[in-house]
């Protein structure tokens, strides 16, 4: 029997450095941004959703961004633009 000091080989996530935007109370007439992850069917899913939101709440599709690859982050410039031009965003993961 012996006592040993082990080095923990694991990491913990660092705390998030952002604060979420306030939630919307009503979707009517709002401007929508969409991010397509470029996987199969993401585009179809988002297009149907945009049409549904337009019909039901008069939501306007203001901006649509398609990522270069599913495993790459969205273009930071597109994200910044979307934050300025849109009231809310929907991200779709297809497959």
């Amino acid at each position: 029997m012996g006592k040993y000091l082990l080095v923990d080989p694991t990491t913990q996530p660092m705390s998030a450095s952002f604060k979420g935007a306030p939630r919307l109370r009503d979707l009517r007439g709002k401007r929508l941004g969409m991010i397509d992850d470029s996987k199969t069917n993401a585009k179809e899913l988002l297009e149907d959703l945009a049409a549904l939101l337009k019909g039901r709440y008069e939501v306007r599709l203001e901006m649509y961004h398609r990522k270069p690859s599913a495993s790459k982050p969205a273009d930071p410039k597109a994200v910044t633009d979307m934050a300025k031009k849109c009231d809310f965003a929907i991200v779709a993961i297809g497959d």
């Binding site: 470029s38 996987k39 199969t40 270069p68």
Partner: protein, 354 residues
Amino acid sequence: MLNTLETEWKDAVDAIERCYALGWTDGLPVVPPTVERVEEFLAYAARPADEVIGLLAERRREVTVGKVAANAIMAGCKPEYFPVVLAVCEAILDPAFNLIGPSSSLGGAGILVIVNGPIVKELDINSRNNLFGPGNRANATIGRAVRLILMNTCAAVPGLFDRTVLGHPGKYSYCIGENEAQTHWTPLHVERGFKRDESAVTVFAAEGPRQVRATPDPETMLYAAADTISTLGSSMSTSGSVGDTSSSLIRQGQVAVIFAGDSQVWKGWSKDDVCRSLHPRLRRSAADIKRAGGLPGPVQAGDESKYLPLVASPEDILVVYAGGEEVSHMAVIPSWGPKVSSVAVTKVIKRSAR
């Protein structure tokens, strides 16, 4: 600053079981990472424990030298392997490698590590028979350290962030050396911008190795290799998951080809000659790719004669001389993903002044 925990055990089996209970292993027994052993590794590499090697921003993880040491120890590495493991970490955390993709994807990538330079001989890294194992401590433990680092420091835990559907045995360990001494070919790291007397690692997010047999003749070998690389159902022969496929229609990746056998077969051929001969043959008709579901829609007029290149340029073929010399076998290793998702990255191995 090392993050430690005190534990006790009555014998070796108890120590190993304790590491299982802590959730630190890849399923195989590990060497317990004691503070004394970690300090020995840090002293060997002359690097501080809290030095940050890189970040995995998507999972908000920071990978430090101390954490890498603990995982290398668990994998069974010797202290002299540690600088190799550190160089691998620098490479996989390079933005061009885009670790978030191969460490999470359904595609099930292994991280192939190719070691070049004088360190291959110094550490007795295997570059000959049984290239992909088993039997050699350096290859087995350096490759295994990479997987433990992914699991323990990058949260690439199966069922959590690692969503692999099938994967392959290279996910346990996937490390080889190039047999530079027995070929006239330029070593891989020299082709990729490093000096011959430097040691370096090249990391490649990859599918498993497919063994290819041919007779010892360049033309027959390249014919067989080209056919294997151009197979349907590979990561490269599909349009999925890529935003802009307008120029090529399909993903297009990189491919590593490991050439074993008598190097004299290649007398008069350079690696560049091999790549230029292979490249135009790495293709498939749009009709075939559609039949295998790699492209959407029905086969249309013209699809049978429309050939799509699976690899964008000859430089995307990584040629390595390694393996046994008895017969002219090859291993074809397609990339896990398209180049837009991840590319092979080479880093120098930093040697401490000793």
